[in-house]
Amino acid sequence: MFKIVITQLEKVVPEAELQAKVLWRSIAVMAWVSFMFAGLASMLFFATFEPTILASLATFSLNWSAQAVYTIGFLLFWLFGFMTTVVSAILLALPLVKREKSLPE
């Protein structure tokens, strides 16, 4: 997925140094925003569902402790939030052809 971002970036920002900065800043923002909402989501989710019961009801046999379910649950929320923001960022960055039209002369 990052390959796409990098190829897009290479076309948009010529200098390698600037490329790295834009890329890292974007990744940091995406990771941070998804982190905040992963925290909120975990809180709401695990306040409603008991983690050990969830693990015991799983399709695959998960012999996880409560701490494991909480942590992995939080990390999963984070990962999915991150993937959502990455794809949103890629789609929001208009393709180059469209960009050309939208730019002022």
Partner: protein, 473 residues
């Protein structure tokens, strides 16, 4: 210009400052009333964070979020997942307080209470202690790697890392009893891996986050990561307390020979600002307050303390930079009571009073009654009708309880198989049968009320719950 150059040009021109190489802000140390207040807040808040975990209350850790057992202990109170509503309520109150205080007094939170500010302050303090003041730090940065630099930098890293790990340890100590956690950390350090994998993960994760945020990112967290910094302008109005430079009084600024020449010649008016740039040097986010209200300003008031000292030295009145409002700067009256302040204050106090009342009146017993889904009623014999209910009794107290069940409004015989005994924190499921004489019943569906009572510490606590009794009438 082809497309690529065009976009590249745009990146360079308009966004260039966003992507400019980050330069470390070496803030000059400043003393003064506001900085003393900030230091007091820092000691208070950090002391609360690091100390609270070690306080015991009634045989357990005073503040413990026991996630595996799904109980939150806060002093004498215990919260169960069923009390989630209190947490949501608390969050709403926190958000509303932020709105209220921001509208009233600007970025008080950022300057005095935000963990990012507080921990950064602690890290800057350690840095200053080891590397010396602003000038010494800059000199050390430029100096080649000699013994002195390795010693100072090594010591700083050691101090930062230990403080961060202690922070991570304390955080986990709010979720796993901190004394047991401490014992397993000591065991682990002596070679016997006793620490759970998840506890290890969270100590390192939170420790690393503290280290990075307070040691390196610092003001960049406020500038680039904090959503509050971006949307606070929506809460500001012209009567909000802000830190501002009095342009009217300060300009035109001048310094040195030019200033004394103008003063002597007495040709044109000169401002009170002597352009010493101390306000810029002390700023932790590296801005110039004289350029007006900026979103980068975290309201730490370091520039106020710095400028007041200078004004005192040059025999001018204090307050060239001060807490003020836009209205006051425009020589208009500052209105304290605005509609939004009144609305926020009323809402907040109503929510707060209701919250305290609800917590104080929280029953240690929660009851859910479901009617048996299979049969509406059973006709026992010519005289008796029976209905079956399913009781869910949640014991939110700290001691095992036995319960009694009575029925109001109906002369009924209550019977159940098991003893009504529920351990603390458990939910007891119990089928309850009501048998009523047919002659007592006047309609097909009769509203009834169950009274469930128990004794806690010599005091009778009862909960009433409505249900219905069906009969073939």
């Amino acid at each position: 210009m082809d497309i690529e150059n065009k976009i590249a040009h745009r990146f360079k021109s308009s966004d260039s400052n966003l992507y400019a190489s980050h330069e470390k802000v070496y803030a000059r140390e400043v003393v003064g009333p506001f900085q003393n207040l900030r230091k007091t807040m820092m000691f208070l808040l950090l002391g609360l964070y690091y100390g609270m975990a070690w306080i015991n209350w009634d045989g357990h850790q005073a503040v413990l979020f026991d996630l595996p057992a799904r109980q939150f202990h806060i002093f004498w109170l215990t919260f169960w997942p069923q009390d989630f509503f209190f947490l949501a309520w608390l969050l709403i109150m926190a958000a509303l307080s932020l709105f209220f205080f921001t509208a009233l007094a600007g970025r008080l939170w950022c300057g005095y209470a935000c963990p990012q500010t507080v921990w950064t302050e602690a890290f800057v303090w350690m840095e200053r202690l080891i590397e010396g003041d602003r000038g010494a730090q800059k000199k050390l940065e430029k100096s080649p790697w000699n013994v002195e630099k390795i010693r100072k930098r090594g010591l700083k890293q050691l101090a930062w890392l230990s403080f961060s790990l202690w922070t991570g340890f304390t955080l986990v100590g709010y979720f796993t009893p901190i004394r047991e956690l401490g014992a397993s950390v000591i065991d682990t350090l002596s070679g016997n891996y006793a620490l759970g994998p998840w506890e290890t993960f969270w100590i390192l994760f939170y420790g690393l986050a503290t280290y990075g945020n307070s040691g390196y990112l610092r003001e960049q967290v406020c500038l680039y990561m904090c959503p509050y910094a971006r949307f606070q302008s929506a809460m500001f109005d012209k009567d909000t307390l802000i830190i501002s430079y009095d342009t009217e009084r300060g300009e035109p600024r001048s310094k040195g020979k030019k200033r004394s020449d103008t003063e002597n010649a007495d040709i044109k008016p000169i401002g009170d600002c002597i352009d010493c740039t101390l306000c810029v040097q002390v700023c932790p986010t590296g801005i110039d307050i004289r350029e007006g209200l900026q979103y980068e300003c975290i309201g730490c008031a370091a520039c106020i303390d710095a400028c007041d000292q200078v004004m005192e030295k040059v025999d001018k009145p204090k307050g060239l930079i001060r807490y003020t409002t836009e209205h006051s700067l425009e020589h208009e009256k500052t209105k304290l009571l605005r509609p939004r302040i009144i609305v926020y204050a009323c809402l907040l106090s109503a929510l707060f009073i209701a919250f305290i009342t609800a917590i104080a009146m929280r029953s240690p017993l929660a009851v859910d009654i479901l009617r048996d889904r299979g049969v509406l009623y059973r006709v026992l014999d010519a005289e008796h009708i029976q209905n079956v209910y399913n009781f869910k009794l949640m014991n939110k107290g700290k001691t095992p309880q036995t319960y009694t069940i009575q029925v109001k409004d109906l002369n009924a015989e209550v019977s159940f198989d098991d003893a009504l005994y529920v351990s603390p924190g458990d939910v007891g499921n119990l089928p309850v049968t009501l048998t009523v004489k047919a002659s007592e019943l006047s309609k097909a569906i009769q509203s009834i009320e169950f009274i469930i009572s128990t004794e806690v510490a010599g005091e009778t606590i009862s909960v009433s719950e409505k249900s219905r009794f069906f009969s073939p009438q």
